[in-house]
Homo-oligomer: 471 residues x 2
Amino acid sequence: MENVKLLLERITSRANANLREFQFDTRTFVDNTIEFDKLAKFYCFYGITTRHPIYFHFKNSSMAGSYFLGKANVRQSCIYKSDIRGDELKRKGDILDKNNPLPLVDDEIFVITGSLLYKTLVHSKSHNPETPEEFTIRNTISAHYANIHGSTMEGCFLGPFATVDLMNLHSCVLGEFSYVQAQEFFHRKIDPGVVWIETDAFKFKFKHESAVLDKYIGVNEKYQPRGLIYEFVSEKEAEYERLFEVVDLEPIKVPASSAVNRYAVIKPKTEIGANVLISQRAYVENTKMGDGSNAQENTFIINSHLEGMCVTAHGGKIINAFIGLKTFVGFNCFLHGKKDAKLTIGKGCIIMPHTIIDIKEPLTIPKRHLVWGYITCADDLSKNSIPIDEINGFRGSQSIGDMTFTGSGESFVEAFSQRIEHILEANGAYCNQDGEMNGHAQDDQQISYNTLQPYRSGENAGMYPSIRISP
Amino acid sequence: MENVKLLLERITSRANANLREFQFDTRTFVDNTIEFDKLAKFYCFYGITTRHPIYFHFKNSSMAGSYFLGKANVRQSCIYKSDIRGDELKRKGDILDKNNPLPLVDDEIFVITGSLLYKTLVHSKSHNPETPEEFTIRNTISAHYANIHGSTMEGCFLGPFATVDLMNLHSCVLGEFSYVQAQEFFHRKIDPGVVWIETDAFKFKFKHESAVLDKYIGVNEKYQPRGLIYEFVSEKEAEYERLFEVVDLEPIKVPASSAVNRYAVIKPKTEIGANVLISQRAYVENTKMGDGSNAQENTFIINSHLEGMCVTAHGGKIINAFIGLKTFVGFNCFLHGKKDAKLTIGKGCIIMPHTIIDIKEPLTIPKRHLVWGYITCADDLSKNSIPIDEINGFRGSQSIGDMTFTGSGESFVEAFSQRIEHILEANGAYCNQDGEMNGHAQDDQQISYNTLQPYRSGENAGMYPSIRISP
């Protein structure tokens, strides 16, 4: 165990060096999080397909329970029960900017150095135009169920359930359950529960009240997650264990155009339509997944019906709900209907990332609404939503409830619509019978997994031998 | 599949080039053996322990269902359901020859190039003083259940159930069920069923009659194995499949000093004593494995009792038998007692490799006997055995039944005794409570397995991505 302890020492000291202006000591989190015996117990797995470039090299690292797809280079890092999913990495020859049509010189690759990623999702691609071929995560520590959806990420701490989306962060602290999608931050500390989307054209900002965070998702004095959302997720964790105990599970019967990852939990009474993608560590129970819908990593969809073309972004939770056609449920949303208090969401809605809906009476959200914040009843809904067509007319500054919006509403709607279309397309929702418009749902089907083991004993226990996989 | 077909083309053409003087076309064997869909289906596995040097590098190869332990470098080869077991490879600094005490410059490594190993066991270490750090297998094709127990092996074809032991072979054909342990052969064709042990001091030779081979182990016109021994082995093959379907099996309860490989089949009513080693692809049913006994790869031990310190060499089969203390059962022996016709073998016996005992009446072999050939009754026994103490006095040439012996009986007995002691020691039979005298039984306990997957589709289907594993 000596070497894995030394590794974590080094990671915390580097992260602390990056964050010294905030006097933020990452050791509090790390010392209370890592269970060393588990590092020496769980295998990691690397997906082999013919559709994705293969290159995997790690050295001096611990990677218990983690999944990797695509090209990755990992050094001096501890990646625990995390998903490093490279199916959106750019390819050699891709052109990023039509105005500056320089093709990429190489396939994009994850380069993870000196970092601790704990139950974290890593997806998407680098949004750093300075290093388009490299999805960089360096000297960074991320906590339970954080989402790193784009890079560069250097010298950062991401609290539990924090999301950083399509942007770069340098020497930043993200509070628990905060969401940022704001191009590039340097040396900032983001408060817990902030939802912040900003481009040159607009800015959307909301912040959950601390009482809401206390109830749903906070941290204790040991910087460990607590609250209803964490309890909900923790209760289900045992369900995943069995998936790791067998090599080949009996495949779930689904249409030929759909992919159910063998590390997803599919419980009884689940129906899966065509062009559906269910990713690893997704949990689906007693639910109808309509054609073209998806359930991404760490999502929970229970007793629900997704009508079709519905996106459930990483970490989204949908319980006792009907979700209308082409509705988008953002990162880490917690949509908690009850058996006798169904949540009904109309078609074409956008549920902003990190939205909490927890109702005791039935609630219906009309079609084409933008929804954010914290909603427990119809009254909350009126202060936390707006028809999308109305935003289209926004100019200047607006406030609705605790949300502030500045800039062009039209650009905002346009950006979201494009993104949802992109997600549906990338996930294979539009795949046709001729196999055109293939996406992840189709490309991920013929996947098999290399399982790679740690040292079990001695000073290297918990570390992995170096491995290099190439075509 | 194109690339794996090309690979096999290349392997056969190289082997044929080495064997052209015999006009032996390995294509007959290869074309009728390989089931291409299986090459793209089965994973291979690499053992990770803290007791064995780690280095595994393969390129341009197919390795479905195969197991590797220790250092290995594999190129341009197809290794199918084979065990490449490197726990006896030499280590850096080892001194081979006390009269010439030069330490090895590096750990010994398997170097397998341009070869097809089909359901083959590879074990032991290089016996080539020219390349002591390299266990070489080049341009070689081995058939079902062949044993390559030592190298160098270049440009050879080994028929089904053939064994090459502690020696080097260059451009040789070994007939089915032949056994050779004779230092070094160049450009020879060995008849089926030959058992040939030769050193500077003695020569032991026996040849099974063709009628016996016809009944127990022969090949058909497609060079595929047939006969009772092959049928016996084939019937049990399905039992192994389940072992490959789970990641972690409930461990079998055994004394702390014993190792049961998780890829061994252990059926009910089996008792396992202390310091016992049961290797992968061993099959043990309703049997008492006395202290210090072992069951090596491809052994079957059924309805039997091994008193203790018994060696069952690779491929040995023991059914309805009692095996006395410190008795040695050689490679690929088929000792077939019946429920109402028990086979009893006294202590300290040596059952020569490739011996067939198939009885209808009970048979007892007295203690300290050397046994060989084909035995169906007491009369056969008298022509196929001799008290070991009697051999001790042999000088010059002797014949007993179809066996001929030349040279020093004392050297022969001495060599075998030393070897059996070495095997027991290497396997950990003498391990004490202080953990001294550790061997494979102890070193192999904390093993875990990397499972590595082939390409499943496309032109590379059946091939594996390149992988390099290092400490």
